[in-house]
């Protein structure tokens, strides 16, 4: 009743192959965009931007990237933190090396650099499969973090070994650095997220995406029906790393402002993004958003309840938070192994019939 695919007739091929072919989906998508672009910026303040919105937008980009690799192409990766570090250090070198180029292009280029590195570490996936591959991607994680720690060229020989984002503007408005307003951070990340999500959505429903899914479901069978595993796996690693690199670049330059590689891009970051993908739903773009929102909001919520409302010491609260996150992940996997996206699918099923279930 409230959610219908029927009665939505198309009269041209163009209309039939648009990004959101169902009218209700399209309306929901436009409504979300209107709220995100025209409503939120008027209410956002520093606390909400830094605690919730900006990390959510950035992790959503990373989750989409990882979901393409794990959810669509079926190649499990635990190297996300390392690839985010590549994005962060690439954008840092570009920002300090070519200050006259607009910052937006730095971010995109950083994604490109990460894509290249991702392909390099993705090549062994042709031989190594399953858990062996998951553990092999840890090689990328540890090697990259070590590299950025030990080669001073990457952090411009700074004494602390940290990288600090210089001030950069777009159209006269600060995007990075201490003077950036909450709205500017939010809108810049939002624009990039919108582009990334549109790109991911259209890639995954096209030829490339179908090749990825064929490889995911069974790579030998896919090879026999004419999918080239080399190109499918390599493009999956490239696109995924491109998005993850962008997320890393934004995390460092817009959100953190300064970063130390082991702390900001360690193995925990890899797991965090992987959890987002699993909890959100493997193989679903919407799921990446839902998972990122869930795992960004949960610690904020727990902290407010445990420390703010109950007044417990922060160290006990931090340990309890670990327990609750761990338990929630296990419970989620038991109750709904296909993630939040599956809940949304079930809700749509119900809405289709409601209020006349027969």
């Amino acid at each position: 009743m409230f959610y219908r695919e029927a009665g939505d007739f198309k009269t041209s091929y163009r209309a039939d192959s648009q990004t959101f072919p169902i009218r209700l989906d399209r309306m929901g998508y436009i409504a979300a965009l209107v709220v995100a672009y025209a409503v939120v910026p008027f209410f956002i303040d520093d606390y909400w931007a830094n605690a919730v919105f900006v990390p959510f937008l950035i992790y959503a980009i990373a989750a989409i990237g990882l979901n393409i690799l794990v959810g669509f192409a079926g190649q499990v990766s635990l190297g996300t933190g390392g690839f985010m570090a590549v994005g962060a250090y690439a954008v840092y070198k570009l920002m300090t090396g070519f200050p006259e180029v607009p910052f937006f292009f730095h971010v995109i280029l950083a994604g490109g650099v990460t894509a290249f590195v991702g392909v390099l570490f993705g090549l062994p996936s042709l031989r190594i499969k399953g858990f062996y591959l998951a553990v092999a991607t840890l090689a990328a994680q540890f090697f990259l973090v070590w590299l950025f720690n030990k080669v001073p060229w990457f952090y411009n020989y700074s004494a602390s070994g940290q990288i600090t984002a210089p001030d950069r503007t777009m159209f006269g408005i600060y995007i990075t650095g201490a003077q950036t307003s909450a709205v500017a951070k939010y809108l810049f990340c939002l624009v990039i997220l919108t582009l990334v999500a549109l790109m991911a959505r259209n890639l995954t429903r096209g030829t490339v995406g179908r090749k990825w899914m064929a490889i995911r479901d069974m790579d030998i069978a896919a090879e026999i029906i004419g999918v080239n595993p080399l190109s499918a796996k390599v493009t999956a690693f490239a696109v995924s790393s491109f998005f993850i690199g962008i997320a890393g670049a934004l995390l460092f330059s817009v959100y953190l402002g300064a970063a130390e590689v082991g702390e900001s891009f360690g193995i925990n970051k890899s797991f965090l993004v992987l959890f987002m993908v699993i909890i959100g739903g493997l193989g679903s773009i919407f799921g990446s958003f839902a998972g990122a929102a869930f795992l960004v909001l949960l610690p904020v919520f727990l902290k407010n309840v445990l420390v703010g409302a109950l007044g417990w010491p922060t160290d006990v609260a931090a340990h309890l938070e670990l327990m609750i996150v761990g338990a929630l992940i296990v419970i989620f996997l038991i109750v709904e192994p296909h993630g939040l996206a599956q809940l949304w699918r079930i809700a749509k099923e119900k809405l289709r019939l409601w209020p006349f279930p027969h």
């Binding site: 499990v76 062994p124 031989r127 190594i128 499969k129 399953g130 858990f131 062996y132 998951a134 553990v135 092999a136 840890l138 090689a139 540890f142 090697f143 973090v145 070590w146 720690n149 030990k150 080669v151 069974m218 030998i220 069978a221 026999i224 193995i267 797991f271 992987l274 959890f275 699993i278 417990w312 010491p313 160290d315 006990v316 340990h319 309890l320 938070e321 670990l322 327990m323 609750i324 996150v325 761990g326 338990a327 929630l328 992940i329 296990v330 996997l333 038991i334 192994p337």
Partner: protein, 328 residues
Amino acid sequence: MSDQLLYATETALNGLMTGVMYSLVALGFVLIYKSSGVFNYAQGVLALFAALTLVGIQKGQVPFAHLINAVTGGHLETFPWQVPALLAILLTAGVMVLMAIIIEKLVLKHLVNQAPIILFMATIGLAYFLEGFGDVMWGADIKTLDVGLPQGINETIETTTANWFGYGFFIDNLDLVATLVAVLLVAALTLFSQYSKQGRALRAVADDHQAALSVGISLRFIWVLVWSIAGFVALVAGIMWGTKSGVQFSLSLIALKALPVLMLGGFTSIPGAIVGGLIIGMGEKLFEFWVGPLIGGATENWFAYVLALIFLVFRPQGLFGEKIIERV
């Protein structure tokens, strides 16, 4: 022998000893993977939890003291008694068995027939939970673990080598004990799985779940059994690593060191875990010794992974793993 070669030999020997320690952790992984197909990421945290519990019982700490104090405003710290080491170890083993039963009841039972990646993720969730749980239960401060194992330089080896080569090798007594314990552990596990009824059932399950079920082996009992054994192996690893470097959060990270060992040795092979551990332990120490100074040091963090990665490209199932056969 030249000095350089002597130092290298000493480094290699110490690397072998470290490798034994890695193998201890890797053993737990292999046991669980073989019999239930679960890639148990929580193995390292199990070792941490076992070590924390052991110290807690030994020192007579009140469990959850922090939390109780936070809620009630009291000042609970310790019970007025201390528990002797051996009894404490036995009690901790009991706790690990209890833990295995709880994990089977609450987690594994509900995840039968799920994809391996889902089970893997569940064990990562479990690892987070146990990490927080251990800290809440026993406190997060760094503790020293002492169950009476010998520590420090082995004088006999030093004087003997000094007499032979004019340079005394530094070998830690604790590493020698660890080697001995590892040998005993592997021997015990082999005997158990070859000659006991339960051990045979264990191998049957590892071979084929459904066939094992159909001849009347209880899968759930076997899972509890194998997680208990893994918990016991974790306890041994926890004691060794805890004595060596103190009981603290970083103990759970040895699991990450055991992963390349597994890749190299093959996920399903107990000898593989041992040989892989020795190769990785010696390889990383020698690499750090010869190449490390040229490229900035601290190569131990990634060398094991890169070695395993390169190795796998040529032999995807590891040294002793079962040959991967794919059918459409």
